[in-house]
């Protein structure tokens, strides 16, 4: 299941469409690392709205995506974590630590715009 990645100005938007296997998640990571260089992107939004399970592997991969892209010069924000998914993650003890999150795509874009203009970030 390939994740479509859209280019929007300085940003890339990866909108996950359905449940992803481990291999799909690793492909997404590699694809984003590649495209951030190709398109000289400054920010990346990963929209996980349709994801109904964020287990230890998915969480770890989201963290490695954010850390890798940071090393490539781009900010990452994860958007769309559903309330039940957030609840399960907390129960499991899974955290996204220093990875930025936002409610939805709109808030994610606002967060990145804020970061790019050097303003104080209101979303975290």
């Amino acid at each position: 299941m390939e994740v479509p990645i859209l280019k929007q100005g300085d940003y890339l938007i990866a909108s996950i469409q359905s449940a992803l296997s481990d291999a799909d998640l690793l492909n997404l990571r590699d694809e984003l690392a590649d495209r951030v260089g190709r398109f000289r992107s400054r920010g990346v939004i990963v929209d996980v709205t349709p994801i109904d399970v964020m287990d230890s592997f998915a969480t770890r991969t989201m963290r490695s995506i954010a850390h890798m892209l940071k090393l490539r010069g781009a900010e990452t924000v994860i958007v769309g974590i559903q309330p039940e998914v957030a609840f399960a993650m907390v129960q499991l003890g899974l955290t996204l630590e220093d990875v930025a999150t936002a409610l939805d795509l709109e808030e994610g874009l606002a967060y990145l715009n804020d970061r790019m203009t050097g303003g104080s970030s209101s979303v975290r």
């Binding site: 449940a19 296997s21 399970v53 287990d55 230890s56 592997f57 399960a88 129960q91 499991l92 003890g93």
Partner: protein, 133 residues
């Protein structure tokens, strides 16, 4: 009561299939919302353990009854190398491989009953139960 359902686990794709089956099965028993997500997440962790440590095995879903209470029983079975030190494997943060080290202890936290039997060289069976509230 519903018929048992077995899901073979042979690759990472089967992890997704197992948790989707688990979600459907649990909803037939009567689980809803957040509980379905917890059950699907537990199955995901158990199935991943099989793929990572034993390469293959199975997840068996069954419906259970006790004192008028309904629930789901999930058995994750493999014939892999087994877990040498179960106490250590159940510690938060312990991982002999790639996961966060939260797989088994995390799963234990999101279910009502948790049992693990492992024999070195003969495989591991994890049995978890969740009751309808």
């Amino acid at each position: 009561m519903y018929d048992n359902q077995s899901v073979p686990i042979k690759s990472d794709r089967d992890i997704v299939i197992a948790r989707q089956h688990g979600r459907t099965y649990a909803s037939k028993i009567g689980f809803t919302g957040g509980d379905l997500t917890l059950i699907a997440t537990a199955i995901s962790e158990l199935a991943r353990n099989i793929v990572e440590y034993a390469k293959q095995g199975e997840i068996v879903l069954s419906s259970i009854q006790q004192g008028g209470q309904a629930g789901i029983c999930i058995v994750a079975r493999d014939e892999g190398p087994g877990i040498v030190d179960i106490v250590q494997a159940m510690e938060d943060g312990y991982s002999s491989r790639r996961s966060l080290g939260l797989g088994l202890p995390g799963t234990k936290r999101i279910v009502d009953e948790f049992e693990i039997v492992s024999n070195s060289g003969k495989g591991t069976t994890v049995t978890v139960k969740k009751w309808l509230r």
